[in-house]
Point group: C2
Chain length 485, copies 2
């Protein structure tokens, strides 16, 4: 009798979970999984399993899955690879719905491992058990009390992350946590023996708790099905996707990692072109792009004004924006005239007021900076203000920690008003001089929904990706409209 799981909801909302392979041995990850479920206040029944029996974290350890008294929806397998087939057979007997295999040592090792995977897939299919993994961290679903580690935030959010790598899942959740980004669901699915990227894309596309989908993918099992799922997902939700394994060595690396086939880079470029998925090169880039999607939901244009405290920095910032595909329009004449009549500007040689706006001599004065920002804010041909924060060049107040914070607060305050979309770029010299203060500034800004970046290059890249995405969406919407008419 097959017992297929048509809806993946049971994965994220199981009634009970059993962890197989727990022990009090140092480095035992089964214990970590169990502890995380306890920490996250998983509401269903929890069971620990190890043939040796005993007690763990206040729970009885059952000698076998079959000894567990109640029904078990979800099993986490932290057992050696050679015992996996047996565990799976017990899952079938116990009518378990999902087996998550943390266990590695299958298809990523050799062809023998791939054969075992195929055999497991067959047993699972016939027995009606779905498999996540092997070689993955499984599920992080804070709203449902499920996590693969205690050391992760308990806050639930609106972002889904479908990740073939457990390490990258941790990185994304942690980077997100420091940027006020929280997750609806994170799935680390490893070798994708059974459930794969396509299944999870289909699920997340429909999941009402998810408004943004992110993914790290090394290889896909079924290209046609995947593209179909991706197209569907991108129709309603922005998708930010990192494709791992671009070159020759990259392809070898992913074969060793998850036993995946990288696929041709040319094909992947076509995938990004065909679908509306936004490409990011690294997990950091992915998170910055999500910040832009989340913090500035309504900003459509790509016209930037740079406000900073050095002509040279302004020039390189301009280069970074233009290279990324953003534009830096000359400020309206009326705005320029107003800046010119502003005392600081008319007196201060070395000031630049066309765009970038360079304000070297106003740096000591918070209200002067706010006044400048308010003048720039009236420029109708500007969508974004990229503000630059760095150490001063003289013995002026600006070189001091307190002043840095004051200026940062001025930018944040102005950004919160929402007239223009403000991005804050903090120079590494400032971060290296005052790491604690900059950490505080970052926290304040991220909580206010203002992206902080450590370089114009990465800020411009993230903003440009989103601007391009929104332009495509608008174009498609308009073309559909004209078809309707």
């Amino acid at each position: 009798m097959t017992q297929h799981v048509d809806n993946l909801d049971c994965i994220f909302n199981p009634r009970s979970i059993a962890v197989a392979g727990v022990s009090e041995e140092r480095g035992n990850l089964g214990r970590d999984f169990l502890a995380a479920l306890v920490d996250f206040s998983f509401a269903g029944a929890l069971y620990a399993i190890n043939p040796k029996g005993g007690q763990i974290l206040g729970n009885k350890i059952y000698g076998s899955l079959l000894e567990v008294p109640g029904p078990v929806d979800y099993v986490i397998g932290c057992i050696p690879a050679k015992l996996t087939e047996n565990l799976l057979e017990l899952c079938v007997q116990k009518r378990v719905k999902v087996l998550h295999l943390f266990t590695a040592g299958f298809g990523e090792l050799d062809s023998r491992g791939a054969e075992i995977e195929a055999k497991l897939a067959k047993i699972a299919h016939q027995g009606g058990v779905r498999i996540i993994g092997p070689n993955g961290m499984g599920i992080y679903h804070p709203a449902g009390g499920i996590s693969f580690s205690s050391n992760l935030p308990k806050e639930a959010g609106n972002i889904a992350f479908i990740s073939q790598s457990g390490g990258n899942a941790f990185q994304a959740i942690r980077l997100g946590n420091n940027r006020s980004l929280y997750f609806s669901k994170v799935i680390s699915y490893g070798n994708a023996l059974d459930l794969n990227e396509t299944d999870f894309f289909e699920y997340c596309a429909k999941d009402p708790k998810t408004t943004i989908i992110a993914a790290y993918i090394e290889g896909v099992r079924d290209g046609q099905a995947f593209i179909k799922a991706l197209v569907q997902a991108t129709q309603n939700k922005p998708v930010v996707l990192v494709k791992g394994g671009r070159g020759k060595a990259g392809a070898r690396a992913i074969a060793s990692h998850t036993g995946s086939l990288a696929g041709n880079e040319v094909v992947w470029e076509a995938v990004f072109k065909q679908t509306r998925a936004i490409r990011a090169d690294t997990i950091e880039d992915m998170i910055e792009t999500i910040c832009v999607l989340q913090y500035y939901p309504k900003t459509v244009g790509g016209r930037v004004c740079i406000v900073g405290f050095s002509g040279g920095v302004g020039v390189l910032a301009t280069d970074a924006c233009e290279t990324a595909g953003l534009s830096l329009p000359v400020l309206d004449t009326s705005v320029q005239e107003e800046l010119k009549t502003f005392a600081f500007f008319s007196n201060a040689a070395g000031s630049i007021y066309s765009n970038p706006v360079d304000t070297p001599l106003v740096v000591m004065d918070r209200s002067a900076l706010l006044r400048i920002l308010n003048i720039v804010a009236r420029a109708e041909n500007i969508d974004w203000i990229f503000a630059h924060l760095r150490l001063g060049v003289g013995s002026d107040d600006f070189s001091r920690e307190a002043s840095l914070k004051q200026l940062a607060e001025t930018f944040i305050e102005f950004g919160q008003a929402g007239v223009k979309s403000v991005v804050l770029v903090i120079d590494p010299t400032a971060t290296e001089a005052y790491p604690k203060t900059v950490a505080e500034i970052r926290e304040d800004a991220f909580q206010a929904g203002i992206l902080v970046s450590s370089s114009f290059t990465s800020a411009a890249k993230a903003v440009a990706s989103v601007v391009e995405y929104r332009a495509t969406v608008l174009r498609l919407r308009n073309s559909l409209k004209s078809v309707d008419e």
Copy 2:
């Protein structure tokens, strides 16, 4: 009578300096210049000038340059633009050798400013006074007791930085200071009314205190002369060059900044191809590239082995290296076999030992990590080890601050032994969790001559630039040899 300065030594080693335009007013930069010279223990005579007279920093303020009793070699002008012509004429009368004009408001403003510049150039030329600037910070020459700010390191080093931007000069010196890189001379020359990039390249190429030349250039005055000077400079010393103003808005930005003409990007690409100058896109990239030149003077090859703690991170690190032009050879079979027989690896499913080397389960053990590094060190087809440091994924020790530091120290220790060139990439999640500890690790590493980078992308870019440069140098040397034979 003309009195040309043939040798620029007098700029860097004047017998006396006068600062014109000092006052105790808030934000007066003249006072900062004077204070910096005092702080840097400038050994020659120092004079302060302001028509209002008075006292400053224990010095008498002279009413005019002509009132100064002794000879004056070097004048720093912090006066309004409209008084500049008069000051220059006084310099001619006083037989001053060099006038540095901090003053801005000339060619970068409008065509009228450009006309004034031309007039000043004529007076200076006829009167035998050389001019640095206007609109530049001037000279930082710590060995000679000259600095344009008190807030800069007093240590002298081997790097010259020729910068058209004062802000970028500050940034480079400060970033360098945190990376054990120190400067022989830094010149912030602004609008280049008289002395320009070509003069400074010629000087630095011959300067025995300078072994590496860096430059930030917006536009050049005489293309032919510049290329000749650049070719000559690159013949004996590596040159790392940032060209500001790539696109349309970038060209506008540099016109507003230093009144320069950007020149065509295509032409600049040809310049980089024709000369051996290494191109960097940002000041941060420039400094990382200099770190690679300085820390790893003998590493010629571009073969990298990645050692880290996550398969997914290893994949993206591989992509970053390959994209930058570095190779990731498969480790010698004997090395792989040794890693395989190593207990941690044979037991730990999920480990990868071909390259990247992924060591998830040894993270708790410092001696195990050292043993792994020593095995990898025997691989003859590897020049570089890129080590990755990040937070752990379980409740293991590795997630803790102390452990992070221990592992970092292991990498640093191994790097110091010098068998392979080690670069440390510290994940932003680690930096965000433990900013203070990571700051300490960075300091330790930089002092040990080990590059620390916050991403594989930037580390790979810096290393690849230097590897390419050294390959070109070797190729040219070999072709010259074969001509000799």
